[in-house]
């Protein structure tokens, strides 16, 4: 590598000349700079590690009693006597809850608005354009606080709207009628979700089968039957006793209004959800619009020539093709939504970041806690990426 350089060095006599040769040799100079840089980098890293070890690392403080309450606990029970780990998990579930529902709603909104943007109807197209331009160009944090303040304008709980006793609306939250089981809470919901996923797989298999056997009975009807069958069977096997959970509003002996039952949409959850959905929805709108516009015009014209209705044209021709270029940027938006959910710290929605900050304030150990939060968000993001990559592979393979 340096044989040429050595040759040159040998021909020079004075040290000064030799140094000059070294200095003007491009390869050597670059190597030297990189070496110095690497050494400094390593020294700096060691310094950081040494500093880190002088701090108290470890997560033993998470085992002790939490000692603080959390306003939103979902799926798992929590009281202040539980450990800080339990509090942390309540935070994680709150983050997942708002991210999951947010992703579903933002996708729906984005696809609809994206299609609306391309509509020939002037009003529909301009509404979509206005929505995108207005929401996308304002800061998310301000939108979150805005929604919180808007929801606080609902009537106070003493003047709550009850809609004939089936729902309670106040600025303590919106209580919707819900179905619950006496013993297992929301377990039936999980069963329903699993049945739905299994059914979707069965349906896609049936669809493939039908491609080869044209006279095969409608896969949609078979799937529906299958779905009903497994839900009913699991309902009887598990013996879940469902009842309609109608919200109620009572006044206790001290004059406090107590709301109970039903499905609670708290103002904090609703505010962060609305803000995330509307904000992320604008980006998804633009992704959908761009992807559809990038399709050759001939696709639409061919569909029209075949006499397909506009609904068929969109669902059978346009969207399946557009999906290929939608999914990769869509993944980014899903990740953004999940990460942006940590802004809920501004409005009292106890997501994982907020709970962690409380723990940090009570017990110190900021460095390991921040590391844990980063790992948690990394895990969530990687899971979303993994799922979307799987979806992407499927979409591209079907197209091929």
């Amino acid at each position: 590598m340096f044989s040429n350089l050595f040759q040159q060095l040998k021909t020079q006599e004075t040290t000064k000349k030799k140094l000059e040769v070294l200095f003007y040799d491009r390869t050597f100079r670059k190597l030297l700079i990189q070496l110095v840089f690497s050494i400094l980098m390593i020294v700096f890293l060691f310094y950081l590690i040494a500093r880190a070890f002088s701090l108290e690392l470890g997560f033993s403080h998470l085992g002790s009693r939490a000692g603080f309450g959390i306003s939103h606990a979902f799926l798992i029970d929590y009281s202040s006597n539980d450990s800080r780990w339990q509090a942390y998990f309540v935070g994680i579930i709150n983050t997942i809850r708002v991210s999951f529902i947010g992703i579903l709603l933002a996708t729906t909104l984005g696809v609809l608005m994206g299609l609306a943007r391309l509509s020939k109807n002037f009003l529909i197209s301009k509404i979509s354009a206005g929505y995108v331009e207005f929401i996308r160009n304002t800061p998310l944090l301000i939108q979150i606080i805005f929604w919180q303040l808007v929801l606080l304008q609902l009537p106070q709980i003493s003047d709550a709207l009850t809609f004939g006793g089936i729902s309670v609306w106040s600025n303590r939250g919106i209580l919707l009628p819900f179905i619950n089981s006496v013993e297992n809470g929301s377990l039936w919901f999980l069963i329903l979700l699993i049945s739905l996923i299994v059914t979707l797989f069965v349906r896609s298999y049936l669809n493939k089968f039908r491609e080869e056997n044209v006279n095969f009975f409608s896969p949609n009807l078979i799937s529906l039957g299958f779905f009903l069958l497994i839900t009913i069977i699991s309902y009887f096997i598990l013996g879940i006793d469902l009842y309609s959970d109608i919200p109620s509003l009572e006044v206790n002996e001290y004059g406090t209004y107590i709301q109970s039952g039903g499905f609670l949409l708290s103002p904090e959850f609703a505010a962060i959800l609305f803000a995330l959905v509307l904000y992320t929805g604008t980006f998804i709108t633009e992704i959908v619009r761009g992807s559809i516009q990038s399709l050759p015009k001939g696709q639409t014209e061919a569909a029209q020539a075949l006499g397909l209705s506009s609904y068929q044209r969109i669902t059978l021709i346009i969207l399946p093709q557009a999906l290929r270029s939608i999914i990769p940027p869509l993944t980014n938006q899903y990740l953004n939504l999940t990460k942006n959910s940590s802004l809920s710290v501004a409005i009292a929605y106890p997501d994982v970041f907020m709970v962690s900050r409380t723990i940090m304030n009570n017990a110190g150990h900021a460095l390991p806690m921040l590391f844990l939060i980063l790992i948690t968000f990394l895990g969530l993001s990687l899971f979303i990426s993994m799922f979307m990559n799987f979806l992407n592979r499927r979409v591209t393979r079907i197209g091929a």
Partner: protein
Amino acid sequence: MFYLRNKLVAMLVLLMAIFIFAACSSEEESSTSSASESTLTTILERGELVCGVNDNLTGFGVVNSSGQFEGFDIDFCKAVAAAILGDSSKVEYVPLTASARFEALAANEIDMLIRNTTWTASRDRDLGNDFTVPTFYDGQGMMVKASSGYDSIESMSGTTVCVLQGTTTELNLDDRFSTAGIPYTPLTFETNDPLQAAYEEGRCDGWTTDKSGLASKRAGFANPSDHVVLAETLSKEPLGPLTRDNDSEFYDVVQWVVFGMMQAEESGINSSNVASMAGSPTDPGMARLLGVGFDGGEPPDFSFGIPADFMQNVISQVGNYGEVYDRHLVPLGLTREGSLNAQWTEGGLIYAPPFR
């Protein structure tokens, strides 16, 4: 192109070197700071007291419309300056956040800290500072709307309570409700503004923080009488000035200036009569406090490295404890009668050891 890249690399190396240099040098700085000379000597040489304060708590420490610091805590800074330097205006105020206050004191940025800081065992033990006598006995309270009819914590079963995140108040709140088995929902806010909005709109039934803070916020409402602070105290929050550890000379000065102001009130000495009292003290105790001789006798020879008549400057320029309290805290609605901040002779905790 290659030239540019080399330049970039060189810049990165330089940046790295600066980082390392900065990291090392800041460490040296903090290690030398602890071995400094007495704070009292420093203040005398500098001719100015540097006081760490709050600049955003009405009544305790706030910057007024003309840009001057004023408040209950601020007046104690002035008193210490008057005692040491003979001039209560020779103070430099350093506004500090709650999280930066202890570091600022430990790092010699300020001479003393008086920023509504609660005296706790762990703070006294771990943070390298010493708490002097509390100037204000605070406690965590609960504010509710007057129309709600709540009169005690027990009556707040099933309520939602707004609280600031990561404070000891959040933990005290849970201790009080959970141990008594009272169901409640905490709504935890990061900052005061959204919390106040939520409370005013009725999102939560109660707002809990230090009683002094509640009084300060209540005074700011459009109609303060619509809100009541419940009598019950959820926790003890003694607030007072802090000095650095192992700085006993200055610690004594701060402590005895505060005691002196309490004693002056007890003895009936205030800013308007201090001059005549010093001229003809009515009893030996008063003479010792003001550093003058009694009945033609010699002045007392005890001092804290400052002139023996330091309390004359303090009282004439700032006033006694009661005057300072009346000036700043009574307007907030924090009455003294029956509270912990009344003189011990009236059932409170304001008690100065004898000046002798």
